[in-house]
């Protein structure tokens, strides 16, 4: 200690203690999120699992909790998302190709790019109002599956475009140059070289974006309200989806319906988990292939 000048007082022991305390604080903060997630899942499983059986999956909604099921909601979700995918994929990939491969560097391109990133931040309930105004009223589609799918398409398009652009950008430029050198024109280069290489990335991003649409309730609630559906809907039928069915059950005061909501949540999470698993598998397959 005699080595130190009296004015130089590093107080190292104290600073290290403070550092140790803060390390604990940071670790605790990480645990807030993780424990929150764990408690949420535990609560759902404990309450929902006893109600989850084959009958729950194959029955329609009912006033009697022990007879009620999620068939109409699950089918509604699957059909709505299928239509959303049909609309989203070509438009989203097309827009991404344009912005990455064709777009000149001008004001319009810049406006489109800023606009897409702003659209990604618009609350989903506002998309519901857009869908209500444009598809339900202006185009007089009514409160049907198609109107819901078109609304969800607009909602997830910015995400699909951003993900597809990243996948296209990751294609090495040598691929394009090689194809150009062989005499291909730009569309042949895109069709034959860029798209096949970017496809796994595009699919992964699209599946993740669609999984967001699967969980969305607010825009569909605004468009269609709550309906009592006891059939498998077609594209021009009224419909309900799993998150809306869960919302209906959560809102009931009886304990049994809340347990049904938990069972519905388990089904919803299983659907989301499978979509994410497919996306991860695709990504892993793609990554190993590009290494060899």
């Amino acid at each position: 200690m005699a080595l130190y000048n009296s004015r130089f007082n590093p107080r190292l022991a104290r600073r290290k203690t403070v550092g140790g305390i803060f390390y604990g604080v940071f670790l605790a903060a990480v645990m807030v999120g993780i424990i929150g997630l764990a408690v949420l899942l535990a609560q759902t499983l404990i309450e929902g699992l006893p109600w989850l059986d084959f009958g729950f999956l194959t029955s329609y909604m009912s006033r009697h909790p022990e007879l009620a099921g999620v068939k109409a909601a699950v089918m509604g979700t699957l059909i709505t998302i299928a239509f959303t995918a049909i609309f989203t994929v070509p438009i989203g990939v097309g827009a991404a190709i344009y912005l990455e491969e064709y777009a000149p560097k001008n004001r319009l391109t810049q406006i489109i790019e800023v606009n897409i990133s702003n659209l990604a931040g618009v609350p989903s309930v506002v998309y519901g109002l857009l869908g209500l105004g444009v598809f339900v009223q202006l185009m007089s589609l009514g409160k049907v599956v198609l109107a819901g799918a078109l609304t969800l398409t607009l909602l997830v398009l910015p995400i699909v475009i951003l993900a597809s652009r990243e996948a296209i950008r990751a294609v090495p430029n040598e691929y394009r140059l090689g194809a150009f050198a062989l005499g291909a024109d730009q569309w042949q280069v895109i069709k034959g070289t860029v798209l096949p290489s970017a496809l796994p990335g595009i699919l992964t991003g699209t599946i993740l974006a669609l999984s967001r649409a699967v969980g969305e309730a607010a825009p569909l609630l605004v468009i269609s309200g709550l309906v009592y559906v006891t059939f498998v809907p077609g594209p021009l039928d009224r419909f309900t989806v799993l998150p809306l069915q869960i919302f209906t059950w959560v809102g009931r005061p009886q304990e049994e319906f809340r347990s049904l909501a938990a069972a519905g949540i388990i089904v919803l999470l299983i659907i989301l988990l499978s979509m994410n698993a497919v996306a991860v598998l695709l990504r892993n397959k793609y990554q190993t292939r590009s290494e060899d």
Binding site: G33, A103, D185, Q186, V214, G215, A218, L226, P243
Partner: protein, 309 residues
């Protein structure tokens, strides 16, 4: 912008379409139209919200809407002051921010500065799962788990309350804060940390006094974007925070947010010509403007204050 990073050899000469087929030209225009759909989406949002609100504002003055302190659009005597809905939104948002901003930032500091690689690879995806869980699920969790737990501490608290919704929303937006902040901290160059250690700073001092200030633009932007997300969140507050428009700072009370009002009215079958129906577009317009300005502010902060390393 995208082309410049990868281009050593300019392919522009090939790209300008000379000698390209008719098919190629058509395809180019089709893709251009796909990109334009995003512009039309924005225009559609603006036109629908303003168009439907005009009908509303011809009956209720903008001044009355923005400054009125009573919101009773369905009950007589009707009053169309939006402030109670704005107050409800702000109350829940503040509660969410109290949870999410410190926890999210601390999580980001841990993941970016402290966590060993193995721990980071496990913890980061787990935190991000929180962002993928549908918001109805959070609503269920707030109503059936968090509220009963809170009622042990606050026995007078009613079932639908701002506190429970705000806390759960805070957990929900942790990954928004932590991911963006962590990205900003990771892009702070190692040389800054090394210089700090060379001066004798401890790990904590380096993290808080060197890395966090250097990443501040990204951190502030993550705060702003997370708050914008909280303002626009619908299902969680519709399920757990109640349907009582009221100006209060007491989180134990039942309130109603702007989004929850839209969701509530949409459940009824209000006639499309009625004034109550038009209110949801006026409230939606206000909500859109609030979140849009926050998002623009967030992007501006990143651009304006970013340190180029």
């Amino acid at each position: 912008m995208p082309a410049s990073s990868r281009q050593e050899i300019d392919t522009g000469r090939f790209r300008r379409g000379r000698g390209s087929s008719i098919e190629g030209t058509i395809v180019r225009w089709v893709f251009f139209c796909c990109a334009l759909i995003s512009i039309f989406t924005t225009l559609g949002i603006v036109f629908i919200l303003i168009g439907q609100s005009i009908g509303f504002f011809s009956e209720v003055s903008v001044f009355e809407f923005l400054t009125g302190t009573r919101w009773t659009p369905i009950l007589k005597p009707t009053a169309f002051g939006v402030l109670p809905l704005v107050a409800g939104t702000l109350l829940v948002t503040v509660l969410a921010a109290i949870v999410a901003l410190p926890v999210g930032l601390a999580t980001a500091i841990y993941l970016a500065e402290y966590a060993p690689d193995k721990a980071r690879r496990v913890l980061k995806p787990m935190i991000e799962i929180l962002a993928g869980i549908p918001t109805v699920v959070y609503g269920y969790f707030a109503l059936t788990f968090v509220t009963p737990q809170l009622q042990r501490f606050f026995p007078d608290m009613i079932v639908f309350n701002a506190l429970s919704a705000g806390m759960v929303m805070g957990i929900m937006i942790i990954p928004m804060v932590s991911s963006l902040s962590e990205d900003a901290m990771i892009s702070v160059p190692r040389s800054l940390r090394q210089a700090s250690y060379a001066l004798g700073a401890t790990k904590l001092e380096t993290s808080l006094k060197v890395v966090v200030p250097a990443a501040l633009s990204g951190i502030v932007a993550s705060f702003i974007l997370a708050i914008s997300r909280a303002i626009g969140e619908t299902m969680l507050v519709t399920i757990a925070a109640g349907a009582t428009p009221r100006i209060t700072a007491n989180p134990l009370e039942s309130i109603q947010t702007m989004t929850a009002y839209i969701a509530q009215l949409a459940q009824g079958e209000a006639s499309h010509d009625s004034i109550e129906y038009k209110t949801i577009f006026a409230v939606g317009l206000l909500l859109f403007l609030m979140t849009l300005s926050l998002n623009l502010l967030g992007h501006w902060v990143v651009r304006r204050w970013r340190q180029a390393y």
